[in-house]
């Protein structure tokens, strides 16, 4: 069944047991919505110099957007900003691939659990769900940087 390519076991796991959910102290907070479906996320980033000390979030949305935020938390917390950016860009590339991109080993190493979203990229309406938290993270990071709270 084609559906299984979207709803990978990993994704359903993250959805049912999200990692790092809840709002904690942060340097910057953003609120993003997906106007086409009403998914919402409030996301905070906390930096310790160049290191991502925490990404905390609260929101409502479908399994894809919720699982994606959970995976983001897993992947980015503890990383250096430069590396995090690379992960974000790789995830974006994968999501915009319209199902044409078969993740290779290198990509898998960067994205870990997030490669499970490869199947989602075939569904244009859901790509935005998967990207919601990642766009929020990017935005929050830009705010934190411009407020000079990090290096």
């Amino acid at each position: 069944m084609k559906l299984d390519s979207m709803y990978q076991e990993v994704i359903l796991d993250h959805y049912k047991h999200p990692h790092g959910r809840g709002l904690r102290d942060g340097d910057a907070e953003v609120h993003h919505v997906n106007p086409t479906c009403g998914d919402e996320i409030t996301l905070r980033v906390k930096y310790d110099g160049e290191t991502i000390a925490d990404v905390s979030y609260e929101g409502q949305g479908c399994s894809i957007s919720q699982a994606s935020a959970s995976v983001l938390n897993d992947l980015l917390v503890g990383k250096e900003l430069g590396e995090a950016r690379k992960i974000q860009e790789t995830f974006l590339e994968l999501m915009q691939s319209k199902g044409q991109l078969e993740p290779d080993d290198a990509m898998e190493e960067v994205l870990e659990d997030a490669v499970a979203f490869a199947g989602v990229s075939k569904y244009p309406a859901r790509v935005k769900c998967a990207l919601l938290s990642w766009m929020a993270w990017k935005d929050a990071t830009a705010q934190a940087l411009s407020e000079g709270k990090t290096a």
Binding site: G61, C62, S63, Y123, R126
Partner: protein
């Protein structure tokens, strides 16, 4: 087939009707025939409407109102003939009260803008109030918010009860002497609620406020008689009533259309133009700037013919039967909660629901895999979702081509969804 389907009466001959709609033969996902349950978003189009469009473009296409040559006269006759058909369909006292717009949203914005630029007694300004409801489509909220911002008028609204009905208990506080316009939907696009027009109109008339009715979800499904409604403006949209995209209607009372100022300026809406000043043509042309949606009006005329031939009472009866059946069957699904009226009374064939804590997007995605097309999200009626503290709903909506078997397919599909995320 379930037992419940045995007793259904009032159904149309959907087997014959479905033959008119080419898309209903469409298959998706390896040969699954589509089960189209999203007619509240847009309806499908019968062959007759597509034929009218083709015939127009292949034989009569010309710009209207200004040509003395044969096909220009034909195009004008077809375009104005469509106005006659729509006027008859809604029982308008005069064909000149029927304005063609691009969609219901433009129709509603047109009313809001006319009132913003109007002279007394219609003028909306900072001493006056605008009334709408929490149940509206965004297209009947945002134009009034914009008008309120631009003029300083105050925006007020009716709330919704737990059962998905308008809460009119405080009607005398909401509609007051300061109210210039009350705009509300006849049938809710998210909950299907059919609203009590008379009570609102009576109060509005008491205080001398104008009334605008958003009939986008009513015109396709029941007899719409603008004289019986007693409103001042009625808006609806072609694509939801088996017509083409790109065409909407605003009906307005003739005296008002005469008194109110134009909105968009340009060709077609003028009487005479000089660089220093211009005068405007009488309604409806005053409100139709530029080349109108000619082919789309012709298509809407064919749509109205199609619906009338089947009969709006018959369509309504069919949908009532389907709705009663759907409500009954949906309530059998565990964890399913209907948002809005949970009975078949005073409601249209649109049913929103939640399914446990499975997000509607996920519900919709799994149903699509089965060929079932439902809409998920806030349905351009986010205040309703806020009201019930839910992020979104899954919405199934039915029309003249919908069958009890499609209701069954939906119910089976929902079982499948529950298992998938169980």
């Amino acid at each position: 087939m379930t037992d419940a389907r045995q007793g259904l009466s009032g159904l149309l001959d959907t087997e014959a009707i479905r033959k008119d709609f080419p898309i209903l033969d469409r298959t998706v996902h390896d040969g699954k025939k589509i089960v189209y349950l999203d007619s509240a978003a847009t309806s499908q189009k019968p062959r007759q409407v597509l034929d009218a469009l083709n015939e127009y473009y292949e034989r009569h296409n010309a710009n209207v109102h200004r040509g003395v040559y044969t096909i220009a006269e034909e195009a004008t006759a077809l375009y104005e003939g469509a106005r006659d058909k729509v006027a008859a369909f809604i029982n308008a006292p005069s064909r000149n009260e029927v304005i063609f717009t691009k969609n219901a949203s433009e129709s509603l914005n047109l009313v809001a803008n006319m009132l913003g630029w109007a002279d007394e007694p219609y003028r909306v300004d900072s001493d006056t109030e605008i009334v709408t409801t929490e149940m509206e489509h965004h297209s009947n909220i945002v134009p009034w918010q914009l008008l309120a911002q631009r003029t300083g008028a105050k925006l007020k609204w009716f709330g919704i009860t737990d059962e998905g009905r308008l809460d009119l208990s405080n009607i005398d506080e909401i509609i007051t002497e300061k109210t210039k316009i009350v705009s509300f939907t006849l049938v809710s696009n998210i909950m299907g609620t059919h609203n009590p027009v008379e009570k609102i109109i009576r109060r509005a008339q008491q205080v001398g406020a104008l009334v605008c009715i958003d009939a986008s979800q009513a015109a396709p499904h029941m007899v719409l008689d603008v004289q019986a409604l007693q409103a001042d403006f009625v808006a609806f949209t072609g694509h939801k009533m088996v017509g083409p995209t790109g065409i909407g209607v605003l009906w307005g009372r003739q005296e008002l259309l005469e008194d109110l100022p134009p909105f968009l300026g340009g060709g077609e809406m003028i009487e005479t133009v000089s660089m220093h000043s211009s005068t405007y043509a009488p309604a409806p042309h005053k409100f139709e700037a530029g080349t109108p949606p000619i082919a789309q009006a012709v298509g809407l005329g064919a749509a109205v013919d199609y619906l009338s031939a089947i009969g709006m009472e018959n369509i309504h009866r069919h949908e009532q039967a389907i709705t009663a059946y759907a409500v009954k069957r949906l309530l059998e699904v565990p964890d399913l909660r209907i948002i809005g009226p949970a009975t078949a009374e005073d409601r249209g064939a649109t049913i929103s629901f939640t399914l446990g804590d499975i997000h509607p997007h996920d519900v919709g995605q799994v149903l699509d895999e089965l060929g079932i097309a439902v809409r998920v999200g806030h349905h351009c009626a986010r205040p309703v979702c806020l009201r019930y503290g839910i992020p979104a709903t899954t919405r199934a909506s039915f029309y003249l081509y919908s069958t009890p078997a499609e209701v069954d397919a939906l119910v089976d599909g929902l079982e499948h969804v529950r298992n998938f995320f169980g």
